[in-house]
Amino acid sequence: MNYLVTARKWRPLVFEDVIGQSHISTTLRNAISQNRLSHAYLFSGPRGVGKTTTARILAKAINCKSPKDFNPDNECEICIEVTEGRSMDVFEIDGASNRGIEEIRNLRESVKYVPSKNKYKVYVIDEVHMLTKEAFNALLKTLEEPPPHVIFIFATTEVHKVPATILSRCQRFDFKRIAIEEIMKHLRTIAHADKISIDDDALLIIAKKGDGSMRDAQSIFDQVVSFCGNEITTKKIIEALGLVDQELFFRTTDLIKSKDTKGGVELVEEILKQGYDIKEFLAGLNEHFRNLLIVLTTESAQMLEVSEVYKKRYVEDAKHFSENDILRLVKIVSDTETSIKWVQQPRFKLEVALIQMIKMDNSVEIGKLLNQIEELKKKIDSGIKVEGKVMASPPSFATAQKSVTIPPTKTSLMNLGGYGFGAKNFSSQTSSVAQSFSPSKSISLDEAVAKWGVIVNEAGQNRVFLKTILSSSRIIDCSNGSIKISCPNESHLEMLKKNRDYITDLAQQIYGAKVRFEAIVDSNFTENPVNHFSNNKTSKENQHPIVEALKNQLGAVEFNSDENY
């Protein structure tokens, strides 16, 4: 006989052999024994867990001439016909190829006729989710009340694509993913029967790769068997399946520990030289970090699905990382994993990701960070109080005023190429202002900048040319009740001089305190003055340390309006 793949050769023939679905086989057998068969069943579940197989067994079991304990005997004429797919009364229809309304109409026609020699006519529609909407609807009436001799069995991997009206007319069975131990156990039986020797570590690798599907595991098993012959070892499997060597993952964590970026680039080079799949490397790396995380959270290596040799190393390695570090690493890896599918040069993506991981700073726990923020807050609060006290004391205010009126200040400003204006005015009005406004009020730089726009606008109301001039000037300093502004050229300075009384009055109204203006010409003047300060806040250099910390440590992303295109 010709070679048959394991999945076909070992296709179960009785209910008990369907691995990991005992909840379904028991129910079905009981239904047969109590003669409570439904006229329509829907089997759903992931690939390779036994849906089609169960459908075939059920079709045989209810028609079999001499059932054994409600299982088909697989020996009688009817059973053999079904197994070979030539039965007149059991139809296995490929729902994906025969998906139109025409095919369903034909089916409805044939439903009417009684079975030729079986008890029941069984229609198995595989991949039923691919029927068109019209086809489904054409089936509804027949499905609700079929003739007594008809049983429908639908099988699908995508039950969400089946209309609710179909679902409600069927008895639904959800097939489960098969546990790793059960796959291992079954493969061991197969290996034993085929006289193949295989160790448990090797079985574990195959079962894990099967990802909950028996057929996947069996395909991998086939591949391994033909590659290795009858002696299967872990080392050979790794070669046969092109699995990424576990050592590489430990090397990655070592690189992260030692912050060796150069080693990162070399590692990528090696991965490619060895011919490993980058996606598989990333998937493996993700699992590696997950293992570390499990060791960290459970403080033991018991729950890991790895061989004993590695468990110790995980416990050892986990000491060097905190949970937060691992979570951030996992985030980088899984982000890379999803985006690498669409990238044309995956090599660079991997290099960048690895280097990001290696360069990553150790994380600070958010609790600590919050404490730091609290402390900072306290410091700021107390700092303001101290400043406020100093400012609030009347004698110092007076001295400040006095110093303002002292002529040397003026000359020094002149020396700098600047020009102090409003000084005379300021001193003459001091007494009245000090009475009408709280003398303790002092203007901070932030406040001065914040209200500058108001002054500019207000000035523009009465003297239009001033708006232009003021808006092209910018505040460069503010202390002791005097505001220093810079303007682009001499002519602007002239205009400011001419209007100093007006500006000073205006500023007094708006700031609520007496201010003195000093103006200088700034030859390097380029930026838009009004936006000067506000711009600076978003640019990177002036970023608040907390924002910086949020970004670096927690992977926060800044919302930027120009990003949204």
Binding site: D126, E127, H129, D216, Q223, V265, K341, F348, V352, I355
Partner: protein
């Protein structure tokens, strides 16, 4: 010819040969791996071996059967690939029935090119997916009896191009094909296949080709000189098909043009930059722009590699320029630059106005680099 036609891939070859040797070849194989690494070549080779009268693990390449496979005309071998949808095509038409004569002649000339060089990438106008009629035809073909000795082999190139209907229609055949049929699927994007398809096949992964393998193949097959073939193999990303495409463009000129462009972007005023962008987008079509962006990515990747003290650069011949660049521009956020180029590449695929994409990308890169310099 024989297995030598497949460059490198020793692991995959060994697996397949072991299957053949023990007569354990599964009925459905899925060969997956990057673009142009030799999956199609291997699929054709398997088909040849299965139909060669004397062969077990390698073809004799002297019998008439082998010859017929070589020109892709063997009656036992059926090829499936994306085809255009004909005018008023019905669901029971054969896939080629409703195509115009021009389309048909294009199909045949593409097939002839593929026969000549299995690394050739079949591309037919308006052929975006594998039609469900092509899949239905498989079932009919595999039901026919085998002509001469040998086994029926159905090869589905670019299996990821099957749309939802086609993929699902293949499932039953793939699980239990009629007779002795062998189905071989090739794909460069395994993740785009249905999990139900993948689960029914035995997977054989084809790795990206190594640089020396590509450069050796370029030298022996295309008579390229050593220096040139080395550079191309570095930039080919492990794909022989890509290397062949690169061979046809004047790579050196392109790379120089690109670096000049970058210099203008970083040093000149916006007016000059926009002129340059306009020039660039006028001179190059979408595919060429894409290539330029990929080269730009390679360039920045090299900048990055040099800056962290490694000398594994890909632009081997431009090392001095790279070092100069690194000396002038330091400490900028290179990951952000990568992100911008990736974004541009993605938008390019989505048919966004090219000039706009390039302008936005250039402005952002300029900002990212100059903020720190």
């Amino acid at each position: 010819m024989s297995w030598d036609i497949v460059i490198g891939q020793n692991r995959a070859k060994r697996i397949i040969q072991k299957h053949l040797e023990q007569n354990r070849l599964p009925h459905s194989l899925l060969l997956y791996g990057g673009d142009g690494v030799g999956k199609d070549a291997a699929a054709i080779q398997i088909a040849k071996i299965l139909n060669c009268k004397t062969a077990v693990t390698d073809s004799c390449d002297s019998c008439p059967d082998c010859h017929k496979v070589n020109i892709l005309q063997h009656p036992n071998i059926h090829l499936v690939f994306p085809l255009p949808v004909g005018k008023s095509e019905l669901s029971d038409d054969l896939p080629l029935d409703k195509l115009t004569s021009e389309e048909l002649s294009q199909v045949y000339s593409e097939l002839a090119a593929k026969a000549k060089n299995p690394y050739y990438e079949i591309s037919i106008e308006r052929a975006n997916f594998i039609k469900i009629t092509s899949i239905r035809e498989i079932r009919k073909k595999s039901a026919l009896s085998v002509l001469s000795q040998g086994r029926k082999v159905i090869i589905i190139f670019d299996a990821e191009k099957m749309n939802e209907q086609s993929s699902n229609a293949l499932l039953k055949t793939l699980e239990e094909p009629l007779g002795e049929t062998v189905l071989i699927l090739t794909t460069s994007n395994k993740d785009a296949l249905l999990p139900t398809i993948i689960s029914r096949c035995q997977l054989i992964r084809f790795e990206d080709l190594k640089e020396d393998e590509i450069s050796a193949a370029l030298q022996s097959r295309e008579n390229l000189d050593e220096q040139q073939s080395k550079i191309i193999s570095r930039l080919s990303n492990g794909s022989y098909t890509h290397a062949l495409q690169l061979m046809q463009t004047d790579l050196n000129a392109k790379r120089n043009q690109l670096v000049d462009f970058l210099a203008i972007v970083l040093t000149q005023n916006p007016l000059k930059i926009s002129e340059e962008i306009e020039k660039m987008t006028k001179e190059n079509d979408r595919a060429e722009i894409e290539q330029l962006l990929l080269l730009l990515q390679v360039w920045f990747r090299d900048v990055h590699t040099l800056s962290i003290g490694s000398d594994q650069v890909l632009n081997v011949d431009q090392k001095t320029r790279l070092e100069k660049f690194n000396a002038i521009y330091k400490n900028f956020d290179i990951y952000a630059v990568f992100k911008e180029i990736e974004k541009a590449l993605l938008l390019l695929k989505k048919n966004v106005y090219i000039q706009l994409i390039i302008t936005v990308m250039v402005i952002k890169i300029r900002r990212i680099i100059l903020v720190k310099n």
